[in-house]
């Protein structure tokens, strides 16, 4: 039993020793902050629904390294974004630019909302217009007599 425990413990320790260390943080905290902020706006192309900052995919790791090196070399955020878009396309941006191919993406939901609101507006207006016509005098008298009759019964 004790041997088994020792073996288990050994395995657990070996596992943690083998675990990959996180990429060493850049000593400059301001630069690190800029890098992380930029990475949070970039999509990891391997996992697609994660940002580069969140992802531990190999490619995301490489791009993190690349971004830090470029920042250190004095490139600004826009230049780095341009560098990545030139290679991977607008798809890397979580905040895609407004242009001909992205018009539907940017304005489609609003167009849909407007369309539905307009439809609702016309539907309600038509329903109001089609509301029950006013009663004729004869009907009115009949209603009144029925109501009176029920009152008398009580």
């Amino acid at each position: 039993m004790r041997k088994l425990l020792a073996l288990l413990l050994g395995l657990i320790l070996a596992g943690s020793a083998l675990a990959k260390e996180a990429a060493p943080a850049v000593p400059d905290p301001a630069l690190e902050k800029r890098a992380v902020k930029l990475e949070e706006q970039l999509r990891c192309l391997v996992c697609q629904n994660q940002t580069i900052a969140d992802s531990h995919a190999e490619l995301a790791m490489d791009l993190k390294k690349e971004i830090r090196e470029k920042l250190k070399a004095g490139m600004n955020e826009d230049q780095i974004t341009e560098f990545l878009v030139a290679r991977y396309g607008d798809f890397v941006l979580y905040n895609p630019p407004v242009k001909a191919t992205t018009v539907a993406l940017w304005f489609g939901p609003f167009a849909l909302l407007l369309g539905v609101l307009a439809g609702l507006f016309f539907y309600l207006r038509r329903r109001r217009a089609a509301a029950a016509p006013p009663l004729s005098d004869a009907d009115q008298a009949r209603v009144q007599s029925l109501l009176d009759a029920s009152e008398e019964r009580q």
Partner: protein, 178 residues
Amino acid sequence: MLRARFLIPAVVFAALVALLAIGLTLDPREVPSPLINKPAPAFNLPQLDRPENTISQKDMLGKVWMLNVWASWCVSCREEHATVLALARTGVLPVIGLNYKDERADGLAWLARLGNPYQTSAFDHDGRVGIDYGVYGVPETYIIDKAGVIRYKRIGAVTPEVVRDKILPLVKELNGNA
């Protein structure tokens, strides 16, 4: 009139099904590459099999050629390997490999075991050239024309259909125009 109104939900449902069905046939991994019709990014890397020699995209100027990104750890590369081998054997165009984020020994062993379709492979150990080529899902394949411009990119395994319908007609066209 009344019957027509009851049909509205059915029509909306059918439209939704059609929309989602189209969505299912699309591959979200296929991101259009901005590199099409751009000059192939420059590289100068040691060759996998001859570390003392280098290979550069410039060496291939004047030829229509194929750059195939592969790695020994990549499962789909195995899948496409027979197709790439067959294509290389026809001699239609030279095939250069880009051995991406691999170990030299592993890469060489992989080629020795499965056959080597490549004139040579550039050894991109740290994946820097891969980043320049916008590689994110190995295998990837580029067709580059005589002027060194990327004309076609395939993300994922090359299949016999891709060779027949895309690569061969394009190579023919590119060779004919010059």
